[in-house]
């Protein structure tokens, strides 16, 4: 090999090296953000792990200096790009998760917003205390839960906002302020249920409930009896929690229901024997049958039967409040590159339930290709504290799990069906939950949330530069 050959190789190599590195930097090295819906993979500027108050303040101030957009992420189980935005800095709060103060006597706990419900349960369970309101699963961060103002199985304490004493907010200008019902009180109902648009929730003080022993009561019921059955149950003070399922299996579609009430156990039963926190188990049978029900009607019928068996087996079981609030999620995990699973949640006033289900059935029976996998039903009391409040009356909340393709055509199909379902919901004075993919149109949002215009105006009042951005605000707020 001659010298000339070597030199030309080296020159060619250098050119190739430089152009490859340039292209890589331009197009490939930007981190990709995505959420549980997996429908909006997006290149962001960078992902920053929250490490401390000063560091977060610095991030916000630097963003102001460089005119960068910011977004805030917890577990990213919202599904409409609420936690990220193209070319924005995504602040990942998960490691900002210390428990700052716990006062068992006053029954309050102060945690950094990246702490999960599980972190709190581990800490307070030994003291015989429990969370008042949270989702049915305990994997979520407190900050994320506040930002969507969650509700859960509990039927006595309202939505999460009712259990918040105060929190500290890092504002778009980089200042840290206290927010409570007395201090900076205008922000309180904006930030809770505010989808991260008003600043970063640093830490929050929550009030706690006593951990009690509950007895599980389950039964099967026809959907027509459900509303009156529930009203009777809610009239009994010993009933503390409630969860129902309505069939999506073709044989009993939107007619059969399994209902579960958790009532306070008689005092002769001692909590301590049951107080150990349960671990998440992976259950093979439901995982397999949920898998089959994704692909066939036969699977859906079998899955519904299996759920009946689980329900009946659970009847009479004793469980502590803390354990009722940490249910299995692992069997629902779903991995596929061309399909995904999305959620919807519709709220409908208790007294409209039967008619609503009839109308919903009519819509869905015409949509054979719409792959609905599961519906669970919870109850949430009227609560209009949050500006974006979904509980405009005493409502049943129906959570729908939908399997769909990720192609544009599949999305459009899902969108059509979802818009129809939301129209039915709105016609029954209902509303829908906002942490999901932007299938609903603007008109539907404003109808479901009469104060949404005010909400977005306040966003611009407190964050005139729109420092905190996400897809939700872009889609509906501007």
């Amino acid at each position: 090999m001659g010298k000339r050959a070597i030199i030309s190789f080296l020159i060619g190599y250098s050119v190739l090296f430089a152009s490859s590195a340039y292209m890589y930097n331009q197009h490939f090295s930007r981190p990709l953000a995505n959420d549980a819906g997996r429908l909006l993979p997006t290149e962001v500027k960078s992902i920053q792990q929250a490490a401390g108050e000063e560091q977060l303040q610095k991030i916000v101030r630097e963003a102001n200096d460089t005119d960068s957009k910011l977004s805030i992420a917890g577990m990213q189980h919202s599904q409409g790009g609420h936690t990220y935005y193209p070319n924005a800095i995504m602040i990942d709060m998960k490691k900002y998760n210390k428990i700052l103060h716990f006062d068992p006597k006053k029954r309050t706990i102060t945690v950094q917003s990246g702490a999960t419900w599980d972190d709190i349960q581990q800490r307070i369970n030994p003291y015989g205390l429990a969370v008042k309101v949270m989702q049915s699963q305990n994997i979520f961060t407190v900050g994320g839960s506040l930002s969507v103002n969650v509700h859960g199985r509990d039927i006595r304490y309202g939505s999460l906002i009712d259990t918040v004493e105060s929190f500290r907010l890092l504002t778009p200008e980089g200042k840290i302020i206290n927010v409570s019902r007395e201090e900076n009180k205008e922000l309180f109902p904006l930030v809770i249920g505010g989808y991260g648009l008003f600043g970063i929730i640093l830490d929050v003080t929550l009030t706690l409930a006593e951990d009690e022993l509950y007895e599980t009561h389950t039964r099967m019921i026809d959907y027509k009896e459900y509303a009156s059955y529930f009203r009777k149950a809610a009239g009994q003070p010993q009933v503390k929690m409630h969860l129902a399922r309505i069939s999506i299996a073709p044989d009993s579609f939107l007619r059969e229901m399994y209902v579960t009430n958790w009532t306070k156990a008689a005092s002769k039963h001692d909590r301590t024997g049951y107080s150990q926190l349960k671990k998440d188990r992976i259950i093979a049978a439901p995982k397999l049958l949920l898998g089959l029900s994704r692909y066939s009607d036969w699977g859906k019928d079998k899955f519904w039967e299996l759920q009946r068996m689980y329900m009946e087996r659970g009847n009479g079981k004793f469980e502590t409040r803390n354990n009722v609030m940490r249910s299995e999620t692992a069997f629902m995990e779903y991995e596929s590159s061309s399909r995904t699973e999305v959620l919807q949640e519709y709220f409908v006033p208790v007294n409209q339930f039967t008619d609503y289900i009839d109308d919903l059935r009519e819509v869905l029976q015409q949509e054979e290709k719409f792959n609905l996998l599961n519906i669970t039903i919870r109850y949430v009391e009227k609560d209009e504290q949050a500006v974006l409040s979904y509980a405009k009356a005493d409502m049943f909340a129906l959570v729908l799990l939908i399997n769909q393709g990720t192609s544009t055509a599949d999305r459009r199909h899902t969108e059509t069906v979802i818009r129809k379902m939301i129209d039915v919901t709105l016609a029954h004075d209902g509303s829908y939950y906002l942490p999901y993919y932007s299938y609903p149109d603007k008109r539907q949002l404003h109808r479901a949330y009469p104060r949404s215009k005010e909400f977005f105006q306040m966003k611009r009042k407190y964050d005139p530069d729109e420092r905190f951005m996400n897809f939700f605000y872009e889609e509906y707020g501007r």
Binding site: M1, Y13, A21, H27, F28, S338
Partner: protein, 177 residues
Amino acid sequence: MNFRQFIWAQSLIMMAGSMIFPFYVLLLRNVGDSYAQFGWAYGLFALTSALAYPVIGKMADHLGDKVLLVTYTWGTAVILLFFPLVDQVWQVYILQIVMGLLGALQKNTEKTSLARYVAKETAGRQIGHYHTWTSIAAAIAIILTGYIVDFLTIGTIFYLASIVYVISGWMLWKQKP
């Protein structure tokens, strides 16, 4: 090139190779969707090697081991520059085909060189010695790269490995036959 120099050059090659291969899987995982695609990617690699060996074998006797080894190192250096830019499965397939060709060059020449260097009587000891040093180099590279990937992006290791290949090729070329 004496045996010691040969071991040096091969150790560097092993280092660069071990930097990529375990982590290369991470890249495939990002690009591919299924184990079938995974299987195809490695299958194509083996298949092109198989087709290339007869030709390479003859070439080794004609051109000599050094030319082939330099071709291998610099060819790999170039192809590695394309790895960070891959985002489609078909691109992985093409890269795997080229890697299969280059891999065959390396494997065959490694063995022909060994065959030419070692004496029959001491072959065991000498080849053992050879493997010891090249394996040590590989181990060091794998462990260090783990740390590097933690701090840098996965793309960076391909650039680093590419540079190591250029250097080892340079070393091979400089050595007197």
